[in-house]
Amino acid sequence: MFDKQFVLGVLVSNHAGVLSRISGLFSRRNYNIDSLNVGVTENPAFSRMTIIARGDDCVREQIVKQLEKLHDVKKVEILPPDETVLREHLLIKIKVKKQTRSEIVESVNIFRGKVVDFNMDSMTVEITGESAKLDAFIRFASEYGIIEMCRAGALAVNRGVTSLSGDEDRFE
């Protein structure tokens, strides 16, 4: 079986040590993790993680079950690609010269990015999108010279009214 990438939405208690519990589980059980993103939710008692992991079907099943065993984990779901909005975030600082400045700005617009910092020698660009789009922009930027870059792991939510916590009824 081939290793496939998949996206996990994980709802966890929001207190100290939870991140190391989750990342520790991945390392001690020999699972591969591509990215992990965590932030507090609308309910401050919970944080939500988006984890991009990799593995065959057995590994995928085990990751979900092992995560579910942790006391701090409230809900784990594999988010199906077709039903999921997935976004990554990129901040990238590019070398600029007088001659290249306008063509870079033009392509930032094509990528629906934003210039967030600017001076004579460099330009910092913010881009949001799926992984492939960010990769494409990074390839483009490397032609001019990347001074530094910073890329956040993916964030993902279900499309439609459904939610990980499953209590969308409370809005009715």
Partner: protein, 553 residues
């Protein structure tokens, strides 16, 4: 009423039904020990020689009694000394609560004296752990810890309490004992499907594990065997679930199992796996394990399903409840041909036993068993003697065979025997150990003597680390690298020095004499039994090989 954090710990322990704790005092738990002193009429504290011994004792206590074992240790080395014991409990699913002190919360993270990151260290070997930084949370944390330790698949939970939190005061109101969460009921459809698969089988084999002991379902396993006319094999953790006398009981399967048990396991067309996790030591080659047989897997832990062995059908629920549901639906089955085959394998097995006048380990175990009754607690250490004990001990009562299954902890035995003996109300306890394992934690002999426990320690003394040596013999061209002990240790004198009584035996008659004397004592005794260093544990399935590669001689 406002009471201190240390008082809250003791009050909640009492409230949760704990009357015995094991531990070792130190700087960061002085306040807790001060409260223990005041409540010594309510909680009995057993002082061990080393924190590791205390952790194994709490583990043994929990295994025997079914209650949560509690251990207390100080910060730093106290906590790190618990680590092996906690890991051991984690791998064998023992309910345990470990309470450690830590430095004042203002000193945390400053490499203070006797400070370690206890929760960080124990995170991968506990079901859950806590560091309590606010005294108002302490009582609920202790309660929740008990709850987690005994719910679902049991396991250890650690609570780290900085010293200043032990000294702070807050309101406390007792609550009733926390009942573990109701164990999961089996799905009706899944039960029907399992019944169908079982009734289709011509050569079923029941594979019984530690989950059966924990769930108290030994009787149901026996009924299942009767009903479907199928033999029962065991993982080491499951051995005590069914009495040895039961005619369907084939004993242990796996790497060093009994011949008939391994062979039937290999020949079966259906393996009904109950409360087992298919350890690599139990299955051998995983690909070949399911070549002939389908597997129906019953386990309370959903993560065990399809973790090591893919089952054709599984029921994720409490073992006892599932077996009861199955027994409600299963028709009586008859498999005379299969059972005859199994019987023939048993007859073949007896032909493998030596009768050359040497003191064979099997004879030692059987001789010791003659001196014991159904109430005895048996503990083992880890190594060859552990396999011999697992193979030949007469099992009579669930929860009375204590052995380190998952972690394979040499040095487990002394602590476990002490905790087991106390957990069973001070009954006669036998520890089978080796000269290697006993050497690791023999300091706990002091604990057994201080507490006047009726413990008989049987040392299989071959002067070598026998199990490792056996592997060196078979797989490392007899390069006996560091396994020949060649020590001058005199275990009879050791026993004497610790205030116990020591005996030596080198043949069956002197063993009989020693046992007669040892079993007439009410306090700890040690019998140093000399055996041949080239004695091997047989049968053996080489690591990673299939059951067809069984080595008999």
């Amino acid at each position: 009423m406002k009471i201190s954090g240390a008082q809250i710990i003791i009050e909640t322990l009492i409230e949760q039904g704990c009357d015995t704790v094991f531990g070792y005092p130190g700087g960061s738990v002085l306040n807790i020990y001060d409260e223990l002193y005041k409540k010594r009429d309510r909680i009995h504290h057993i002082l061990t020689a080393h924190e590791q011994g205390a952790a194994h004792a709490a583990d043994g206590y929990a295994r025997v009694s079914g209650k949560v074992g509690v251990v207390i240790a100080t910060s730093g080395p106290g906590a790190t000394n618990l680590v092996t014991g906690i890991a051991n409990a984690y791998l064998d699913s023992t309910p345990m609560v470990a309470i450690t002190g830590n430095v004042d919360s203002t000193l945390l993270g400053k490499d203070s004296f006797q400070e370690v990151d206890t929760t960080g260290i124990t995170m991968p070997i506990t079901k859950h752990n806590y560091i309590v930084k606010v005294v108002t949370e302490l009582a609920d944390v202790v309660r929740e810890a008990f709850m987690i330790a005994k719910s679902g698949r049991p396991g250890p939970v650690l609570i780290d309490v900085p010293k200043d939190v032990q000294k702070q005061f807050c309101e406390y109101a007792p609550v009733p004992v926390c009942r573990p969460k109701e164990q999961k009921e089996p799905d009706e459809k899944a039960v029907r499907e399992a019944v169908k698969i079982i009734e289709e089988s011509k050569q079923p084999y029941i594979y019984c594990g530690g989950g059966v002991v924990i769930s108290g379902a030994g009787r149901e396993v026996e009924q299942l065997a009767e009903r479907i006319d199928a033999p029962i094999g065991f993982s080491m953790m499951g051995l005590s679930a069914v009495p040895s006398e039961n005619r369907y009981n084939l004993g242990m399967t796996g790497m060093h199992g009994r011949f008939a048990s391994i062979k039937s396991n290999a020949e079966a067309d259906l393996i009904i796996a109950v409360g087992v996790r298919f350890s690599d030591r139990a299955t051998g080659n995983k690909a070949k394990y399911t070549q002939k047989a389908r597997v129906v897997h019953i386990d309370i832990d959903p993560a065990e399903i399809n973790k090591n062995i893919n089952s054709c059908h599984s029921i994720n629920a409490d073992v006892k409840k599932t077996l009861c549901a199955l027994l409600n639906k299963l028709e009586k089955q008859h498999h005379p041909e299969w059972m005859q085959k199994v019987e023939d394998m048993r007859i073949t097995e007896t032909s493998h036993f030596h009768t050359d006048g040497r003191l064979h380990p099997k004879d030692i175990v059987e001789k010791v068993m003659e001196y014991t009754d159904g109430n005895v607690v048996i503990a083992t250490d880890v190594g060859q003697h552990q396999m011999w004990a697992s193979q030949y001990c007469r099992q009579r009562k669930p929860r009375r065979f204590l052995t380190s299954g998952g972690l394979g902890t040499m040095g487990f035995g002394m602590g476990a025997a002490i905790g087991g003996c106390i957990g069973a109300g001070g009954v006669r306890t036998v520890l089978f150990t080796g000269d290697g394992s006993f050497g690791m934690n023999l300091n706990e002999l002091a604990t057994a003597v201080s507490n006047e426990l009726p413990l008989v320690v049987i040392i299989f003394n071959n002067g070598v680390l026998g199990m490792v040596r056996q592997w060196q013999t078979s797989f490392y061209e007899k390069h006996y690298s560091e396994t020949t002990l060649n020590r001058k240790t005199d275990f009879v004198k050791i026993a004497d020095a610790f205030g116990a009584k020591g005996f030596r035996a080198s043949d069956i008659n002197s063993l009989d004499d020693a046992l007669k004397k040892a079993f007439s004592e009410k306090t700890p005794t040690v019998i140093d039994v000399m055996i041949d260093m080239n004695e091997r544990v047989l049968p053996m399935i080489p690591p990673g090989a299939s059951f067809d590669n069984i080595i008999i001689e």
